[in-house]
């Protein structure tokens, strides 16, 4: 059934609708996918505007606030004139715990730090060129402690680091998928279009790669990266490693589509019309499976993100000073943290939401990918 919008005066709009319009109309009906799409867009906006959204910078540390627990955010402040909207937090004071004799932070109810919007703080560079010292939220006095998600062992703000981590984690998915897309379409296309011996060889290679357990393979490849590489190059190396495995799935999808389309009547018709081989591929075949590829890609991104997270968690992927979700989780990886600073696992929540949202978007796209199914 073709997706139709209800009103009959839209009939003509449907008649001349391209496949992307039909897909969008269909996707729009998928509530969960639509909600997830909004979430995914928000996450990518966070990644894009990290400097502005984060109250601090990821490396800014406050040695006197190591392992400071999350503060409770209060939204209304009591003044002489009554209740007024003014977010604030209590300050910290240090107490010595009787039994363990260790320092713990407790809220200091004497001290109130007001939180402001568009406050000036550490100067940052937005998009790499816009110099600004404005941050969306931050303490009104720059020196006041504000750790809404708590602080890590060096007294760095976890919220800030999660926001910056979004950038690496979400982009590694995109870049990795882009690389696998190129490899997948190229090799899958060749395999499906040429067939025969070439197809046979490519398929056996794919089977071989897929039969190697991934974690040891990653470990081997990651260990091969020189330790003295700069962080950026390590980042790139990791994406290459991830896409090295990721392309196989896409290549199979592309090959399958090619094989199925080669015998479709409309492709034969184009062939008989005298249309050249290249034009048949680009004009008839690729548009027919592009939507399926996009859906497959969307479903591949979360795998990439999870792969990066697990690699970094194992200490094989990205390493500090790069901030990614995996790196953040790796820092939360010892008994002491579990016992004393459980808030460091908040990053896990971010991973969870991002993966789930991307999966639902991918599901929605997959369901909408063929608006012509009868």
């Amino acid at each position: 059934m073709i997706a139709r919008v209800p009103a009959p005066d839209h009939q003509e709009a449907i008649n001349v609708a391209t496949q992307w319009q039909l897909m969008w109309w269909r996707f729009r009906k998928h509530r969960l996918a639509m909600t997830s799409l909004v979430i995914v867009i928000l996450i990518y906006l966070v990644a894009l505007l990290a400097e502005f959204l984060a109250p601090f910078t990821p490396d800014e540390f406050r040695a006197d606030y190591t392992y400071a627990p999350p503060q409770r955010l209060h939204l209304f402040l009591e003044t002489e004139n009554g209740l007024r909207f003014q977010p604030w937090v209590y300050g910290y004071k240090v107490e010595i715990e009787e039994e363990a004799l260790r320092r713990v932070f407790v809220p200091d109810e004497e001290v109130i730090h007001e939180i402001g919007f568009f406050v000036s703080g550490v100067p940052v560079r937005l998009f790499g060129f816009l110099e600004t010292d404005r941050h969306l939220v931050g303490p009104k006095e720059p020196e006041a402690p504000m750790f809404l998600f708590g602080a890590d062992k060096l007294g760095r703000d976890l919220l800030t680091r999660m926001i910056y981590g979004t950038r690496i984690s979400m982009s590694i998915g995109l870049v990795g998928v882009a690389l696998s897309l190129i490899l997948g379409i190229l090799l899958g296309g060749i395999s499906g279009f040429l067939g025969g011996q070439v197809d046979n060889i490519i398929q056996r290679v794919i089977e071989f790669i897929r039969s190697v357990p991934t974690i040891p393979l990653w470990m081997g490849l990651a260990a091969a990266l020189p330790t003295d590489w700069p962080p950026l190059r390590i980042y790139f190396g990791i994406t290459v490693i991830l896409s090295f495995i990721g392309w196989t799935e896409l290549a199979r999808v592309v090959r399958g589509r090619f094989l199925a389309l080669r015998t479709e009547d409309f492709v034969i018709a184009a062939h008989l019309d005298g249309v050249g081989q290249m034009r048949i591929i680009l004009h008839h075949m690729v548009p027919s499976f592009l939507s399926h590829i996009i859906a497959a890609l969307t479903l591949a991104i979360p795998n990439m993100i999870l792969a990066e997270t697990s690699l970094s968690f194992l200490g094989l992927g990205l390493r500090p000073p790069i901030v990614s979700w995996g790196v953040l989780l790796q820092e939360a990886q010892n008994i002491r943290t579990v016992a004393t600073a459980p808030w460091l696992f908040a990053t896990g929540g971010a991973v969870f939401i991002a993966i789930l949202a991307l999966n639902f978007v991918g599901d929605g796209l997959r369901d909408a990918a063929d608006p012509y199914a009868r």
Partner: protein, 339 residues
């Protein structure tokens, strides 16, 4: 009516075998003889029907003529308007290019044969772009003209196939086939997917277009009542072989092959007063990978004699233009339809 202007296409000893692969490492395990040594001529201006049951090779024959597939053996002599005949079976893609403009195809499935992602203008106009270099308003004018020709409103050219019903889609397919002013149109089950009322519209359209554009049709169908209505001559295929070829009237009234007789008697007649004495054939159509010996029809034939199992009967002419491949054609009296 029947061609007096000479031959348009001579099919000579056409064979198409598909290898059967299977097992480990895709070993060669035999072959399906989809089309086995078939010869016939198509005359200029006629409609030649090619009938048979599924798996008899009629579609493959059509696809060989269009060179969708390269035949295993045989010749396909096409007679151009001017110049010497060419053997389509020996040409490569580049060599076929001019002839593919003169031999066109109408597909069975009105859904699968139109690219759902392109508007009608592109679907019908693509061959004009590629072969005639038409662009812009020249292209639109020609497509509008073609849509008018097949009874669709020219304004519809911006619409996508999903906006049309099965019958209208089939008209779009016809417009595409006619875009380059072809001489021969291979219609492969062109009306089989359509409802009764739409089917008759489409058949009438095909006939009008034939008169208007001096077309020749190779009309492939399993539906004998449609074939009887549109065809001048009919060829009957059974398990890859041509068993009978005659003009429509003599084939339907005086069939000479027992298979044709059974086929004709099997067609349900739309009149409850003449509930027919059906000849119900025993068993099933044999597997073309393992056809029976001799005459492929002998295990199901009620007239079969020993010779039928041993010798393959050749297609021979019995009376004026009536060809049949049966040893007993001269001895047995077969019933056609009462008409």
């Amino acid at each position: 009516m029947s061609g007096t202007n000479g031959t348009l296409l001579s099919v000579r000893n056409l064979s198409m075998f598909f290898p059967v692969r299977g097992g480990f490492l895709q070993g060669h395990r035999g072959e399906v003889r989809a089309v086995d040594d078939v010869s016939f001529d198509i005359q200029v201006g006629e409609t030649l029907g090619l009938v048979g049951e599924s798996g008899c090779g009629k579609t493959t024959t059509g696809r060989c003529i269009l060179r969708v597939v390269a035949p295993t053996a045989g010749e396909l002599w096409y007679h151009p308007r001017e110049g010497e005949p060419v053997d389509l079976a020996r040409l490569d893609t580049a060599g076929l290019l001019p002839w593919r403009q003169e031999i066109r195809m109408i597909f069975q499935d009105p859904f699968a044969s139109l690219n759902p992602r392109l508007p009608v203008l592109e679907i019908v106009g693509e061959c004009l772009k590629v072969n005639r270099g038409l662009r812009g308003s020249a292209l639109e004018d020609r497509v509008a003209e073609l849509l008018g020709l097949v009874g669709l409103r020219p304004e519809y050219m911006r619409r996508y196939p999903h906006a049309f019903s099965g019958g209208e889609r089939q008209r779009i397919g016809i417009a595409r086939a006619l875009a380059l002013n072809p001489r021969l149109v291979v219609a492969d089950e062109a009306v089989s997917a359509l409802d009764v009322s739409v089917r008759s519209q489409t058949l009438n359209l095909l006939q009008d277009l034939q008169n208007e554009m001096q077309l020749t049709y190779l009309f492939i169908s399993h539906d004998l009542s449609v074939v009887r209505y549109v065809c001048n001559r009919v060829a009957v295929m059974y398990v890859g072989k041509l068993v009978e070829l005659a003009d429509t009237r003599s084939l339907f009234l005086t069939p000479q092959h027992p298979y044709t007789e059974a086929l004709l008697s099997s067609v349900p007649k739309p009149d409850p007063r003449i509930r027919s004495q059906r000849i119900v054939l025993e068993g099933d159509v044999p597997d073309p990978a393992q056809p029976p010996s001799g005459c492929h029809f002998h295990p199901r034939c009620r007239y079969a004699v020993d010779r039928c199992a041993e010798e393959t009967p050749p297609l021979r002419e019995t009376a004026g233009g009536h060809h049949v491949a049966c040893h007993l054609a001269d001895e047995i009296e077969l019933a056609g339809i009462q008409g």
